[in-house]
Amino acid sequence: VSVMSDVLSEASEGSGDDSQELMTPAELIEKLEEAWLNEKFSPELLENKSEIVECVMEQLTHMEENLQRVKKGDLKASIHRMEIDRIRYVLSSYLRSRLQKIEKYFPHVLKKEKSRADGDPSYLSPEEFAFAKEYMANTETYLKNVALRHMPPNLQTVDFAKCVPEPSLDSFVFLRVKVQQENILVEPETDDQSEYAVDLEVGSQHLMRYRTIAPLVSNGAVQLI
């Protein structure tokens, strides 16, 4: 991390951007890594983190620009190059895992986004929303043209929400606690067990059903690992 923050602070010197004053580059990368791991391990699509993505993209551009000025064959240059590659990998991987979930669960993702109340945080970024709509329309058109329109009149539609699997919220996830939690209700696993409450200590690690701690993931109290 020390090398990373070194490179990043150098990169941000030139920018002097006001929107990022509250966050140092090292903190920004930490935020990106948190979002990345959460998205990678959570079964459902999480809220979009467009601000982080934009800031990181900006940083990458600055770093690339700074690199152009370093003279050829400088050892520092190749270390910085490596850092850029690593950050870009994390960013791409983060966006990829989101896109994969959007494609895999498109009817559910779109339904959730459309039924969202005004003012609630949106799950999809505007770009992702546009992508999901196109993906759905494309797939619908395809099925219609190839098969559905040749079927009997009462069978010419398919309910995607019923056919495409939903994310399994009951799957288990590993997590690390960042903010102390008390009285988290855990559903019984067997019939002879009853519901019980656990306290989650800061720094402790657990294996739990995603559904139980989903709100804690979205408010940042726990980190999926």
Partner: protein, 196 residues
């Protein structure tokens, strides 16, 4: 047996395994559609008969045929959708231009879907961040080293690397290149990563 041909379509994909795209079974689809047409027509006439003559003993048969129809529809949709997922994976594996050997197994409509998917993905990637966007089909693996040893599998011609140096990618020649510049060429099969 009704539904037999439809389930055979699904089995065909299951048998061939993940990621493989067999030839589009147009004939199979047509046969199922024909079966559905026949079932539907029989049902129509039975429904009319049941209505006009009050032949309630026909109702179980009508229900049975309707279930067969639903099952056939479900199987066709599953077959087509599962193929689309495989077609989608091709975009990530080969890039936006597919080798002829792969395209050969796709139907015209699948190719159309693929092109539309390609376009949506490109629009999405362009919209990321600044003016240039971000190609997220790159950087598929965490970077381990900056430069890698690659061997040319086929002639590719001249190739410019970041600092402006131009190298000639000739068949069987070996180069030490920046990883981020050759990822695409490796996936296209022009270069081969040499592991020491």
């Amino acid at each position: 047996m009704f539904g037999e041909k439809a389930i055979e379509l699904v089995r065909e994909l299951d048998r061939i395994g993940d990621g493989q795209l067999p030839a589009f079974n147009e004939d199979g689809i047509r046969q199922v559609l024909e079966e559905m047409k026949a079932l539907y027509e029989q049902n129509q006439s039975d429904v009319n008969e049941a209505k006009s003559e009050g032949a309630s003993e026909l109702i179980p048969t009508i229900k049975f045929r309707h279930c067969c129809l639903l099952r056939n529809q479900r199987c066709i949709a599953a077959y087509l959708y599962d193929r689309l997922l495989r077609v989608r994976a091709l975009r990530w594996e080969y890039g936006s231009v597919l080798p002829t050997s792969v395209r050969f197994h796709m139907s015209a409509e699948e190719l159309e879907w693929f092109n539309q998917y390609k376009k949506s993905l490109a629009t999405y990637m362009r919209s990321l961040g600044g003016e240039e966007g971000l190609d997220i089909t790159q950087d598929m693996k965490p970077p381990k080293s900056l430069y890698i040893e690659v061997r040319c599998v086929k002639d590719h011609g001249e190739f410019e690397i970041d600092d402006g140096t131009i190298i000639l990618l000739k068949k069987n020649s070996q180069h030490f290149l920046p990883r981020w510049k050759c990822e695409h060429l490796i996936r296209q099969g022009v270069l081969e990563h040499v592991l020491s």
